[in-house]
Amino acid sequence: MDSELVATQKAIEDIWQVAERLGLDPFPIEFEIVPAAMIYEFGAYGLPGRFSHWTHGKAYHQMKTMYDYGLSKIYELVINTNPCYAFLLEGNSLLQNKLVIAHVIAHCDFFKNNVYFQRTNRRMVESASASAERIRRYEFLHGTVEVEKFLDAVLSIQEHIDPDPFPRKAGKVEAHAARTTPYDDLFYIGDEKRGMEQPARVRRTPEEPRRDLLLFITENAVELEDWQRDIIDIVRAEMLYFLPQAQTKIMNEGWASYWHSRILRELDLSDDESIEFARMHAGVLAPSRQHINPYHLGLKILENIQKRWDAPTDEERRSLGRRGGEGHQKIFDVRGTENDISFLRNYLTRRLVEDLDLYIYRQDGDEWRIVEKSWERVREMLVNAAVTMGQPCIVVEDGDYHGNRELYLKHMYEGQALDLAYAEKTLRQVHVLWRRTVHLETVIDGKRVLLSYDGAKNDRAVA
């Protein structure tokens, strides 16, 4: 074992002990030291060994370029599995690794103990590799172009799974009684058994709107082949795996930042190391005028919770029954039971919004301007962003529209308009999966509009 490994091993031992003493309870972790190219590859693909696709290649190229030009650096990458994998960038200094190790241990504690992760596949690396292997075989059998075309279509709507962490049992769509017409008997002329019986055609319409487009399509699209359904299932399973990470981004990064700084304060650092730590910590937590740094916001909220539960005001003692000194226990409770939506809604206080100087901005002509600073509006906007995760909510309204197996999607409009050019292009992709006319209802300038694609051309009509 080389000296870098020995030193890293020693650091992990020390940090692990401190972490356990402070109450962290992570999964076992396999630390791997890897060169930059590998860490960027894992970052671009989301998981080691995930299936091949040009969008991954593009992400890889972008990340690698940023690294090569010194514009960004990923120090670590941690995978939510049991045991967890933590990839450390080769060439990290010992101090950098110490911070990263403490950070990673906190992430793994979060993965293990946060309720939203309870259903994730903890053997996802193996699953993803097996899936990648199957997709590679499909490429071999059906041609890379064919598979790429299909993957393009699936990935276009990959975000549209049901983000509800505890969905009601998603049963198959009920078969409704078929539409009857006076001519139905014509279909069965010469078929004595069927005679005047009810025709067996079924109407596939979800009883209530369904958010899981991928699931609905794989269960109800009629012309898909087995390998195509498999690809949809693979993509959907991987998205379900990534979902809780997206739903707890601010909390999880805040939690890890909280612990890396707390643990490193407990370690016996030299003066030089202390300065290096302070510099790196400041870099990770640097706020930005253009977006919310989840590390910074998450950490500030957690620190604020701890403070308020450790030393409540008289008012809080009286009306909320806080006894004081409960900060440590409280942040562990929060870590176990909240996600970003509830975390922001419950704990992003007026004081924090003002102290952190958070604001809302938007495009005004060619310029970007701050338009809102009221703390409630800022909180509402951030909560909203955590709910939608930046995605419009699209549901399946009808899988048998016009009685013709056409797919009717509806954008649950809440004041934010869709990018129409993109929506029309995406409909074309949905058509690749559904193979029949697809529709999307949305709102443009206050009017309900139906976008359609019938396999040949896009169409827009006022609904």
Partner: protein
């Protein structure tokens, strides 16, 4: 303590996919460039990039489409230094960059700068372009100044005596008698170097670039003609060893100018295209024998010709058509809402030859189709 962790440094390179998928992305970028040639051909960065081989062309970033919010109508969250106020400006659209994921997505432009060499681009543009109406020309024999000494003879000028070979011959002669040593020279031992003049055969083409610089021609017209000539010359150079360009600027009078002046000139006055055509004919007669030269005159104008001049112009155009490979006329009408000009219709009725090609350019995007029309490959053309 039970070990809850392990640390190792394995070789993961066997599991790599990044480079292959990256290559596939690059391939798709190339396809996208190919599909957007019309936009890219008239990119300013190309025709002004003289030195650099690699150019950057902005193409729409290759994204999978997805249902997404209209970025211009979307709210974003940010964080100030403690003194931000409503109404503060964060930046222009051009300065914002990057796109992230999740809460507080930062806005960004959707463009990707693809890098490509001029050669690669030229290859895409010129695929299946040909040289129509190509006739076999007597190739010109170029006598270059260079001479090559490449032969040895027994007679020659003493100043060209090849001493080494002469001595060797002497030794060889002695060796025949069993004495391989030098024993004096005889006349028959002398060897002289002789030379030849270097004669190369060249195929020649000349582009006669004509441009209307009358008052009605503006920046757009200059730009279009420049872009067109750039690619035209580039293409001809792939087919001929020697391509010359003659620049003729005209309003009511024509004059031959250098390249820089040609693209810079903006004058006032009316238009008589016949002046340019007669000058072109004259230049051809004086300098470019049609028996030896492939001649490609091309004229850009807005078609605002003096009506009296049209008859003469058509007659001269017919004369040019007879001696040239193709005669092109490009009418630039920014906006393109006008009807066909009188000049263009006069050409259509008066010049009955498939060697005449008239194109209308109303937009930067039209340069590429115009090029393709001009160099359209026809059945039976000789491939240059």
């Amino acid at each position: 303590m039970v070990a809850q962790f392990s640390v190792s440094k394995d070789d993961w390179s066997l599991h790599r996919k990044g480079p292959t998928d990256q290559a596939r992305h690059k391939e798709k970028v190339k396809e996208a460039i190919k599909n957007n040639l019309a936009d890219i051909v008239s990119e300013e960065s190309i025709i002004t990039s003289d030195g650099s081989k690699v150019i950057k062309v902005p193409i729409r970033s290759l994204n999978l489409p997805r249902f997404r919010f209209d970025s211009g109508k979307k709210d974003y969250a940010g964080q100030g230094n403690g003194d931000s106020r409503v109404g503060d400006k964060l930046g222009d659209q051009s300065t914002s960059e990057g796109s992230g994921k999740g809460a507080g997505d930062s806005p960004g432009a959707d463009y990707y700068e693809a890098e490509i060499t001029i050669e690669e681009l030229a290859e895409m543009i010129f695929t299946d372009l040909g040289l129509p109406n190509l006739q076999r020309k007597q190739s010109q024999e170029m006598t270059s100044e260079a001479i090559r000494f490449d032969e040895i003879r027994k007679k020659g000028v003493f100043s060209n005596l090849d001493k080494r070979r002469t001595l060797l011959e002497g030794v060889k002669r002695e060796a025949l008698h069993g004495h391989p040593i030098f024993g004096g020279l005889k006349n028959e031992d002398l060897r002289f170097r002789t030379w030849q003049e270097d004669i190369r055969r060249e195929t020649n083409a000349v582009v006669i670039a004509m441009r209307d610089v009358s008052a009605s021609m503006g920046e757009f017209e200059k730009y279009i003609s420049r872009s067109f000539y750039y690619w035209m010359v580039k293409f001809l150079r792939t087919r001929y060893q020697n391509v010359k360009i003659v620049f003729i600027a005209h309003h009511t009078e024509a004059k031959e100018v250098d390249e820089e002046t040609f693209f810079r000139l903006g004058e006032s006055g009316g238009t008589k295209v016949s002046s340019a055509y007669s000058m072109a004919a004259e230049i051809i007669e004086r300098r470019f024998d049609p028996a030896r030269w492939n001649i490609y005159p091309f004229h850009f104008s807005d078609g605002d010709n003096w009506n009296d001049d049209n008859t003469l112009a058509v007659r001269l155009a017919n004369r040019l058509v007879d001696i040239c490979n193709i005669f092109g006329y490009g009418e630039i009408r920014a906006g393109g809402q006008y009807a066909m000009s009188t000049l263009m219709s006069a050409f259509y009725t008066g010049v009955k030859s498939e060697r005449f090609i008239g194109v209308t350019i109303a937009d930067k995007k039209d340069v590429y189709p115009a090029l393709r029309q001009f160099f359209k490959k026809k059945e039976g053309d000789i491939d240059g």
